[in-house]
Amino acid sequence: MDRVRARAPDVRTLGVIAVVLVFAALFLGPPLYGQYLPQRISDYLIFGLPALAVALIAGHARLLNVGIGATFGVSAYTVAILSHHSVLNPVLLMLGALGAGVLVSILFSIYAVVATGLEYLLLTLLTTAAFASLPLLSISLTGGENGLGVKGAVDISFGLDPLQGNGFYWLLCAVTAFWCGLSWYLLSSRAGRVMVAIGRNPVRAAAMGYSVHAYQVAVTLYSGLIAASAGWLYALAHAFVFQDLLGLADSVNFVLYSLIGGVDTVLGPLLGTAGLRFLGEYLGQQSTQSQLYVGVALLTVVYLLPSGVVGGLRQLWRLRSRFRSASPIGTGEPGPVEVAGAVEMDRLFSAARDE
């Protein structure tokens, strides 16, 4: 009996091994494979980071922020604008982009403090839609509808050429690994668990003495930094920024990527991004019906895989280990929530509970 038990692998260890393998494959695989694979994976990573940001702020902290796209876009524009004003130092550009992202995040933090629930969502949504029009206010600065090129060639990206060699790709991998690692660490830390508790029931958390707003501001800034770093990298990789980067389209995409990949995990959003963008490219080449297929894919996820792909896999795994150990451990769902605003948030992400 005991010997059989001892052999059953610890879920946690398996998880860590899997992650290490994934990242090893990420660093080594595409460069070995060649044929522009690093460039395509770069695209997935650049768009995957904001999806991760969305998962953290909207999934874990349950702040429905549709404005991550705005942060992303503003940071990218900052790089472009600065490069036109003779700022070509890569570190300064990076800091500029991150700083701009922080400023936008501060605005969103203010919203989190003054509003909750769907009104917060609308504030972020409106702001993002408004941002899309901002470049038109000063065409000389931003290039208006024509967009803006990024000056400085490879100097601004530490000498790494996004189009040749693997250096830039490895920079991307390193940034991704950094944010994933940091996010995992924070999520499993006490602060992370408090954040999740606040997301589930802010009233109860406040009653327990936690400063709800402080945590909300913190998570808004953190996810803003992730999105800002992605915007910075985008500007470096594509050397061109345009209005659509600022608006709602990308923001909605990020939400989709994270929802489909699994909003409760760190890798989920990245995988969701890769999957959906790949699907879009493939379908875009095959047919003009891509929207139809994406819609059908979404429906499939909704009815068959509601926790997203990664979340669904996780649940499958949990089911397996439950049968193995034969002890019915509950999943420890939190109790009923009382206040309207908290109810909205809870209801957005979890099924109605009957007790």
Binding site: E119, A130, V263, S350
Partner: protein, 288 residues
């Protein structure tokens, strides 16, 4: 800037606001009952417009087309939504949002496939014009405003005094208790879906002569309707209607004095300020 210019701009604003109010009211109704925003609302608007186009192409009158649009989209759309969303009613709201988003994508693609992506013009059924000062204002536009107001007032009366309207509000406010009191909840849901789609179709079909018909004609209305519904206080039928009319007029009047882009920003700013001022209230129920 003469008074006449202002009057014309205000009228234009009312026309846009009226159709927006119809779409937003439908959204608010659905939100109140089911607790979610229907991303495909703009696409039912679009379908309404296409059905009018189809009717005209088959030699029917414009008004026949409108009636056909409302019935067809209301019933078929309502049933489709019911089939899709009823199984999800106790699951996470995010899933419902995703499902309606998926429906929206599919509807737009199918519309483009069936009708082509080009914009089809539709002639207004009444080409008469009425003088307002020195300008001749189209009578049809005025009719649109009147029709919208009549429908919205009718909706208000329905919700307040008629049996199914009261049941709708009851289900929105306390579904459990409503069923305990004998209200057939699934029937009420179905009604809410049908009405919501019908309202969108009315708006789409009435506005078709003014905007032309193309697969994404509903998108702008959609976004504005979302804004209106949330700013009006979710599930608040009257609030949504009033704010929609107000915003339509505000944007139209604003563009007299402020150049294009800034008007949009001004409108956004107004709504943002409104929300921040109102952020105390959080109730999510169908009110009148």
């Amino acid at each position: 800037m003469s008074l006449e210019h202002v009057a014309v701009a205000a009228m234009n604003g009312l026309v846009v606001g009226a159709s927006l109010a119809l779409v937003a009211a439908g959204l608010a109704l659905l939100f109140g009952v089911l607790g979610v925003l229907n991303f495909a609302q703009g696409d039912f608007y679009m379908l309404g417009a296409y059905i009018v186009w189809l009717a005209l192409g088959h030699g029917q009158s414009f008004w026949t087309g409108v009636v056909a649009a409302v019935l067809a989209v209301g019933i078929v759309g309502g049933l489709a939504l019911m089939t899709m969303l009823w199984p999800l009613r106790d699951r996470a709201h995010a899933l419902v949002l995703l499902a309606t988003l998926a429906l929206s994508l599919i509807m737009e693609q199918l519309a483009a496939n069936v009708f082509g992506g080009d914009a089809k013009p539709i002639a207004a059924p009444i080409s008469a014009r009425v003088p307002i000062g020195h300008t001749d204002y189209p009578v049809y536009d005025l009719i649109v405003v009147v029709a919208a107001v009549v429908i919205l007032v009718g909706g208000f009366v329905f919700l307040k005094y008629l049996k199914y309207g009261i049941w709708l509000r009851a289900v929105a406010q306390n579904r459990r208790m409503a069923s305990v009191l004998g209200v057939p909840v699934s029937r009420v849901y179905a009604l809410a879906f049908v009405l919501s789609c019908g309202l969108a179709a009315v708006a789409g079909s009435l506005l078709a002569p003014l905007t032309q018909v193309y697969p994404t004609v509903g998108l702008d209305v959609n976004l504005s309707a979302f804004i209106v519904v949330i700013a009006g206080g979710l599930g608040n039928f009257r609030g949504a209607a009033v704010i929609a009319l107000g915003l339509g007029v505000a944007e139209s009047l604003g563009s007299l004095w402020i150049p294009g882009v800034a008007v949009q920003l001004m409108v956004f700013g107004l709504v943002i300020a409104l929300l921040i001022l109102r952020s105390q209230r959080q109730r999510v129920l169908v009110r009148l």
